[in-house]
């Protein structure tokens, strides 16, 4: 059970949150090729190491935020 620092509520157990996947994937529907668009819809990075990702404090203040998490050790640090 990871402990995730919500920017509003402070540290809370992982099961108060919903995972939001990779951060920084912006929505750009206009002027994209089918291939680029498929990349937005279907493809995400899956690194071994630090990963910039989004979380949603669904059972708390309902804030979306992002952190960096190490996918191997589960260390979490503030996103730059």
């Amino acid at each position: 059970m990871m402990l995730i620092e919500c920017p509003h509520c402070g540290p809370r157990d992982e099961n108060e949150f919903r995972y939001g996947g990779q951060a920084g994937v912006s929505y750009r529907p206009e002027d994209t090729s089918d291939e680029e668009w498929a990349g937005y819809v279907f493809l995400r990075d899956n690194p071994k190491g630090w990963f910039h990702e989004r979380w949603f404090h669904v059972h708390g203040c309902r804030t979306w935020f992002s952190v960096e998490r190490h996918t191997l050790t589960h260390e979490i640090r503030k996103a730059p």
Partner: protein
Amino acid sequence: MTRLARGGLVDRSVTLSFSFDGRPMEGHPGDTLASALLANGVRVVGHSVGFGRPRGVFSAGPEEPNALIRVGADPMLAATTVELYDGLEAWSLRGKGRVDLDAHDDRRCDKGYLHCDVLVVGGGPAGLAAALGAGAAGARVILVDDQPRLGGDLLNSRVRLDGAPALDWVALVRARLRSMADVRVFSRTTAIGYYDHNYVVAVERRPRGERLWHLRAGRVVLATGAHERSLAFPGNDRPGVMLASAARTYANRYGVRPGRRAVVFACADSGYEAARDLLAAGVEIAAVVDPRPRGLALDGVEVLAGQVVTGTTADAGGLLTGVLAGDRSFEADLLAVAGGWNPAVHLFSQSQGRTGFDEDLQAFVPRASAQGERSAGACAGRYGTPEAIEDGYTAGHQAATPMSEGGGSRVPESEGDSSRVPEGGFHVPVSDEPAPRPPAALWLVEQGSGDHSFADLHRDVTVADLARAAGTGMRSVEHVKRYTTAGTGADQGKTSGAVVVGVMSALLGAAPGQVGTTTYRPPYTPVSFATLAGRDRGTLSDPVRTTAPHASHVARGAVFEDVGQWKRPRYFPREGETMEQAVLRECHAARTAVAAMDASTLGKIDIRGADAGEFLDRIYTNMYSTLRVGSCRYGVMCTADGMVFDDGTTARLADDHYLMTTTTGNAAPVLDWLEEWRQTEWPDLDVSFTSVTDHWATVAVAGPHAREIIQVVAPGALDLAFMTYAGTDVLGVPGRVFRISFSGELAYEVNVPWWYGRSLWDTVLDLGAVPYGTETMHVLRAEKGFAIVGQETDGTVTPQDLGMSWLVSKRKPDFVGKRSHTRPDTARADRKHLVGLLTDDPAAFVEEGAQLVLRMYVGGDAPVPMLGHVTSSYPSAALGRSFSLAMARDVAVGDRLVAVSGETSVPVTVVEPVFYDPGNTRRDGRQAMPAFSGVMGECRRRSPAEAYAARFAAAGSERVRLREVPFERMWEVRGSDPGTGLRLGPDWWLVTGDVQAGESWVDVSGQRTVLELTGPGALDILITGCPIDLHPSVFPGHAQTLLGKTTVLLEKIPDGYRIYVRSSFASYVSEWLLSATEG
């Protein structure tokens, strides 16, 4: 009887009666079942799983591989871990237990959540000192220890500290810990799992059942001690062969003589200590066999240095009668094996710490921590009591005053100099133990008697089995484990793991450090499913959400259906009716007269802000910014891949104010979805969302005579046009009426605040509406060809596939999903689309899920092209026949297909998917109306937990009181600080009480109810279900979090807490609190 006349920690003044395999026996408080069995002369406790060989008690702790027994409803426990109690009934096993599903289990298990700065695992010398060191530095400390009393191995030994019995020192430390307000000590509590971010799970054995503790620590000090290991030699499984530390423990701690005449196999010096203690208990020592070149002198005992035990002899029953050492033979009924020690690195390894092999200790020891953790004492390979105490104190003190370090754990801030040892320092006592020499690097006696040499006693895995594994080419211990099952027993290889590694290293010619260990996984000791479930069983296994009229549905005999967590009436059978009969009757009422459904479960989201229309344009496929105030519009929203996500009707209540409805199951996901787009993509839009699902109770009134009901309950809505809305009094209270229809008939959705929902429902039925459930709702909508999200759709269906191209705006520059609608796969012509199906035989029926194929096929035709599948299928009262909806490709109206389900093939014809009233001639119903002559019932308000008042009162005690605070006025406020209320989020407040509401405040008075838990025991109840840190020094006064399995808002009040819970969850939380109050 082999109980000694004196000595040990058992209370001989009290006798406990118990039975083993039906034989009556006696023991004393302080005994384990194992010590009591030995005291009663029981040498064979069970038989082994594979060979059926007799087995006796082997250890004195959780590492026990042999003495597995059934106790009551527990199918398999280690006798060495069961505290004896009066009336205990134990039964022997052959290696494994069997769950008796009929066994009565009256345990009451639960969970607990606690937070601390420093968690210490283990109450031996190192752990006690660690708790003292951390507590003295002012930290919040929790110490867990699996034994009934503190002391760890000091309980088992005759060591003296500072010239006095070691337990005097333990008593001194215990007293000091008791004096520290923020130090909590849990005995009989076994830490079983060490997870991410210093999350440790422990099982506390309480009188009425186990409690599963979830402990979050800033730092963890592991002081888990060490396990003595055995080694593989022929006949090493005879009853009478026992770990030397166990033999010594039975003599010292339990006052039991484990044998009459013993041989000690001393690969480590602890064997000599055991020999001394056994001598003192009156056990004759025939010999000490020490594989090392030099032995130690022991008064009057023959020491065979440089020798090994090569075999055992046994009587006809398999009991140990003698020990062989080369050409020597000794008569003995006890062989005490001191194979060396393994630091108990289980939790350390679970924390992802890395171990390494220590050549001096011949054992794996902790090398690199992965979390905010430090191992101290024997589990770090530091044997010897003073060394453990000093190491523990230092570890505890450092943990309480950490320098800033990396790592995922939360590190408490401390004031002042962080490394200063408290004034007066800490005195490390002096012990009388001799310094131990390195143990023999011996895992396996290869020569010998020819009997089996066991590596894993529980799994009956022998050296020959391991050799066979190596012979097949296996090199990894993980493979060997799975091939031989070594280490997979109830003891999870606690005594065998090192032996397997040692034997494999001998077989492979590699060092043990190269062979490595298998992965240590939780739980450290077996845990029953009842413990893991805690209170989450039976009616509390998952929250049940109920609507305001729920009790009325129950009284009316409704058959319920689970929709998400909701209980929804599926149909309302009259006496003797089948479901099909009831549904046909309900449908008939809706098509010819008037019927009513409880539609309260539909998600309702209040949407406000200057950009609300723009936002909805971007989310829905059709337009909302152009919707007239007072009107409603049906909409579909897609995910970015263009597939249908949800649908519903949204009304515009004012220029900047909409009310969205969602499907029952998607209410929360849709709200999350809106919040995600607003916060992460369009933060510049002025729009906010408030769930009002539980604030409004909704009754759908449908049928040609619906106006006759509306003229009574909501006369102000009588003249509503189709797809319009009115804010109007309902039963005399402010409500909302929407004229929308999901059946094609004249229909109204009438909304009142939750408190009045029951009255509205009862009144509508009293006025003659026939109650109908979800099944009838499904039939009525299917007759009209309306798709249901999740029934016709499955995440691969676009609005166009559903025949809803008319609903997809071509004018809007964008909406979520639009770009995907032109992807080649989404735009292709041969996608499955919604069609209707009619069977050739009107009485025939097609199963939902049936596959559609072109014709009757026979064997050998494979592969058969699959054209689609049936999504909905019902008998219809209005049509007088069955009908179906399907998703199919490459078919057109008039095509003939076959619907195949199991062994049944039904010929069908493709038709348009609208079966009933395709011209929409029925939606305005009957205009003429008889005058209302009845008497309207009283509109009484009811609070969500009203039915619990008596049980709440009865559950009250001096420790805790429970009540509902009903009918609180509440508003949710977004945007700017209202200057009052509880802040729930960055721009989100809840205002309660008797205040003047602001214009943009959303009335949510019915959305939540307030339960009040007060009294000195309130906190103790909350920590059994609330995972956040409620310690007064940390808890900010209020927080939104979880209680049990649902979201609550928790507010501290002077004498306890207020729990704000959604009205639909009020029953769940009430039952949960009552269960918790009962203990």
